[in-house]
């Protein structure tokens, strides 16, 4: 007898397989694109010196190559290609990138002594070292002689930078903090309108003391800056211009054309590390994204801490305590639909309810002395986390309800039959049994929350936050502070930055990082869930 393949469901199996393959290809493609574009960003590529037919020279990193587009043509048919050169030296040229037609090129060379200087300002500089001066006297001239001198000077400047940063952040930060605290105390006393002139006087004296300390630190800083600017380097560019600058502004110097793969790898990882652990520079288009990583993770953690008990309690009430009927069914439908409301709506609600409503009220009750500057009555990481918790609580409720529904009735009765109260049964049997499902809900919530940007833009995310939400000042966790976020960072660098072309790779890298963080957060939750599953149930059940 002939087998009826349609009835046996074979085509259906192919269909399921096909859809899976399709999804995998889409995800894989996206990831590959992001990795390809993102991870290459830190590679120190060789510096090309290009001579054109008309005798002009250009120097820089070849960053792209494409078919030359003709005006009025959607798809480039032209056989001619052009290359994109990162020429850097923004202070001299104004633009970082230059398109060069390939048929104009006479020759390409890779001179061994071409240097790349990564600077605190104005981006990269490409050129040749002309000489180094210290306190006005020349200590090295020419490429060969100056290179080792530069190399030996750089570590010292890095030390000085660290010291400056320490004084600025820690010492002066502390002093500023103390002064603002003292000011607030004075203002509080003034508001009380009591006979406390003497204590106000005492506080003012303390402020004076702090001011004196401030002066001391300031003078230390000035001398450090002087040291920093002591040594100056002169670079000559390919088109014959010269540029003198302080060695203190140089982050990194290397000669890619004479470096081995191993040396390049070292540079690669040091740049990667700077990206993950450093602070942003140059309107976020350079430097690191550490504050954004920190803000993103902290926000998601706070969100999870809030959303877990909230969602679980709400689901418990719906499933275990509420009288099942029309009303509960309507509530359930509403909760499900809440998950589909555009996130910006939650953001607007949060601005009105959390920030102006709750935050404003708290300010007027407890932080009177610092008004009109709002403390909690403005966007901050707490409000952003709460907004996301609100946004994701339906997911947790639905997952928890399903988990609770899956606990067999017999198990529940078994607990009650042993004399447990309903509360004890819920707490000791129902919730542990439903825990894997609850965590699945949290995982979905985390995934959604990490990727959300729109509501954050109005509830506390900023382009550049001066301080992290956690520091060494009491009470250590400052949830009222504004914070940075990777998702917003992508938007900001990609669409708001003055130098989009230079920032493009940065966008891919940041995206990659964001995806990585989502994966790490999810993996943690999944590992916890699997551990609980193994502990409580059969494998695979």
């Amino acid at each position: 007898m002939k087998k009826n393949s349609w009835k046996s469901g074979d085509p259906f199996i192919w269909l399921t397989g096909l859809s899976l393959v399709f999804s995998l290809i889409m995800i894989g493609g996206l990831l590959f694109l992001i990795m390809y574009k993102g991870l290459g960003f830190f590679w120190p590529s060789d510096i090309a010196v290009i001579e054109l037919n008309d005798g002009t020279y250009y120097m820089g990193e070849i960053s792209n190559r494409e078919k030359k587009p003709e005006p009025g043509e959607a798809v480039a048919k032209n056989k001619d290609s052009r290359i994109q050169l990162k020429i850097g030296n923004r202070d001299l040229y104004g633009l970082d990138f230059k398109w060069i037609d390939e048929n104009q090129i006479k020759s390409i060379e890779y001179p061994k002594d071409a240097v790349v200087l990564e600077r605190l300002e104005w981006g990269n500089m490409y050129g040749f070292i002309k000489g180094i001066r210290s306190d006005g006297t020349t200590i090295a001239t020419g490429n060969v002689e100056s290179w080792p001198v530069l190399k030996s000077l750089l570590p010292k400047t890095h030390e000085i930078h660290k010291e400056i940063k320490r004084i600025e952040k820690k010492k002066i930060g502390d002093i500023n903090y103390n002064i603002s605290q003292l000011r607030l105390q004075i203002r509080k006393l003034e508001l009380e309108r009591g006979e406390n002139k003497s204590s106000i006087k005492k506080l003012e004296e303390k402020i004076e003391d702090q001011n004196k300390l401030f002066q001391e630190e300031e003078s230390k800083l000035t001398s450090l800056y002087k040291q920093l600017n002591q040594n100056r380097i002169t670079i000559s560019t390919i088109d014959g211009r010269e540029k003198e600058m302080s060695i203190g502004t140089i982050v990194r110097a290397y000669r890619p054309n004479s470096m081995s793969i191993f040396e390049k790898l070292l540079i690669y990882f040091s740049k990667l590390w700077e990206f993950v652990s450093g602070n942003p520079r140059e309107a976020n288009t350079e430097g690191g994204v550490f504050p954004a990583i920190f803000g993103t993770v902290l926000m998601v953690v706070i969100m999870s801490i809030v959303v877990l008990p909230f969602g679980v309690l709400a689901a418990l009430y719906l499933r275990e305590y509420a009288k099942q009927g029309l009303l509960v069914r309507i509530v359930r439908i509403c909760v499900n639909n809440l998950a589909g409301v555009p996130s910006i709506v939650f953001g607007i609600f949060a601005v009105g309810f959390f920030i102006y409503g709750i935050g404003g009220t708290i300010d007027s009750l407890f932080f009177k002395e610092s008004l009109p500057t709002p403390t909690l009555g403005t966007g901050g990481i707490l409000w952003a986390s709460l907004t996301l918790a609100l946004l994701t609580v339906p997911v947790v409720i639905v997952a928890t309800e399903e988990g609770l529904a899956a606990v067999p009735r017999a198990v529940k009765e078994g607990s009650l039959a042993l004399g447990a109260t309903k509360f004890e049964t819920t707490w000791k049997v129902m919730i542990p049994s439903a825990m894997p499902a609850i965590l699945t809900g949290v995982i979905l919530a985390i995934a959604r929350a990490t990727g959300e940007v729109a509501p954050l833009m109005i509830t506390g995310v900023v382009k550049l936050a001066p301080d992290l939400p956690i520091d060494s000042h009491f009470p250590f966790i400052h949830l009222e502070r504004k914070f940075m976020h990777l998702g917003f960072h992508i938007y900001d660098v990609g669409f708001q930055s003055p130098n989009v072309e230079a920032a493009k790779p940065m966008i891919f890298t940041t995206t990659l990082l964001l995806i990585l963080i989502v994966v790490i957060l999810n993996l943690t939750a999944i590992i916890i869930r699997n551990y609980l599953r193994k502990k409580y149930t059969l494998p695979g059940v």
Partner: protein, 302 residues
């Protein structure tokens, strides 16, 4: 192998049977007087048995699920420190009756209960009764095993912990004794920390028995406790019941006639929600007065 085991257990049963006979004879003689008085009170019953020292007294109990009666006008006393078997075809209301004794039916929506159930003279459907206290006194082993998704140890320690026992040496002792009682200790003593769900079906059922006896209830309700068990485990559980009934009252639902005959002193036959006949076990099996009972116990039913 199994044949031999079965034979052995049959032999054991005959011995037990003789014991039962002796015991019930004594009982009847002793309490002849009291029974006469009782019978005046309980005119309306469908059976003649009088119990002198009842721990559970059920009077005119009717239970409806959404208006459909599941047990009707039950009137039966259950003797203290004896085993009473409830037999009857599937769906006749045995489980429902059992669940009335620890008020587990309260949890089901749409249940209405009429009549009264007294345990040790207290009406358990009185509004002043603390249901959790009641359930600690009336333990239950369910028809289908229902271990908690916790470790084996935690399953058994669950009840004692609820009663406020925290000392770990006390708990260890209770757990060991209870598991021994349920004939499970030897199999699980090295894996007490493992999930209870990793046990086999029969082991899970014995774990549920251990869990129920760990709180030392006055009355133990057992709803087909041996349906999942092999002959050896069944034998062990039956031994346990024989032992437990010295100090506890046991009500056991079973589909296994031999088992009812082996372990119980009294037997009630239920049919379509009513108690058709209730008597000492020997009478139900050897001298049933009702035609339906006779058909059922002799296997002619249906």
């Amino acid at each position: 192998m199994e044949v031999i085991l079965n034979l052995a257990s049959v032999q054991g049963n005959i011995l037990k049977y003789n014991q039962i006979l002796k015991k019930s004879d004594q009982l009847i003689k002793q309490n002849l007087e009291d029974k006469k008085q009782d019978s005046i009170r309980k005119e309306g019953r469908s059976h003649q048995l009088e119990i002198s020292d009842p721990i559970v007294e059920i009077e005119n109990l009717t239970l409806e699920y959404d208006g459909k009666p599941a047990i009707i006008d039950i009137l039966i006393d259950i003797p203290k420190n004896h085993a009473t078997a409830v037999i009857g075809p599937s769906g006749c209301g045995k489980s429902t009756l059992l669940r009335c004794l620890n008020r587990l039916n309260d949890l089901i929506d749409g249940v209405t209960i009429e009549g009264s159930v007294k345990i040790s003279g207290e009406d358990i459907y009185d509004s002043n009764i603390d249901v959790t206290e009641l359930r600690k006194r009336v333990g239950m082993v369910f028809q289908k095993s229902n271990p908690f998704p916790k470790s084996i140890y935690e399953n058994v320690a669950y009840g004692p912990r609820l009663s406020g026992i925290k000392n770990s040496t006390d708990l260890d002792e209770i757990v060991e004794n209870s598991l021994n009682g349920a004939a499970l200790w030897e199999e699980v003593k090295d894996r007490l920390g493992e999930s209870a769900l990793s046990l086999s079906g029969g082991q899970q059922q014995r774990l549920c028995i251990a869990r129920a006896i760990a709180v030392e209830p006055e009355v133990l309700l057992m709803d087909e406790p041996c349906s999942d068990l092999d002959p050896i485990a069944t034998g062990k559980i039956e031994d346990l019941i024989t032992e437990l009934k010295q100090n506890y009252t046991i009500v056991i639902v079973t589909h296994n006639m031999q088992q009812a005959a082996r372990v119980s002193d009294y037997t009630a036959f239920m049919y379509l929600g009513r108690i058709i006949e209730y008597d000492i076990t020997e009478n139900i099996f050897l001298r049933p007065t009702n035609k339906q009972t006779e058909d059922y116990v002799s296997g002619k039913f249906g």
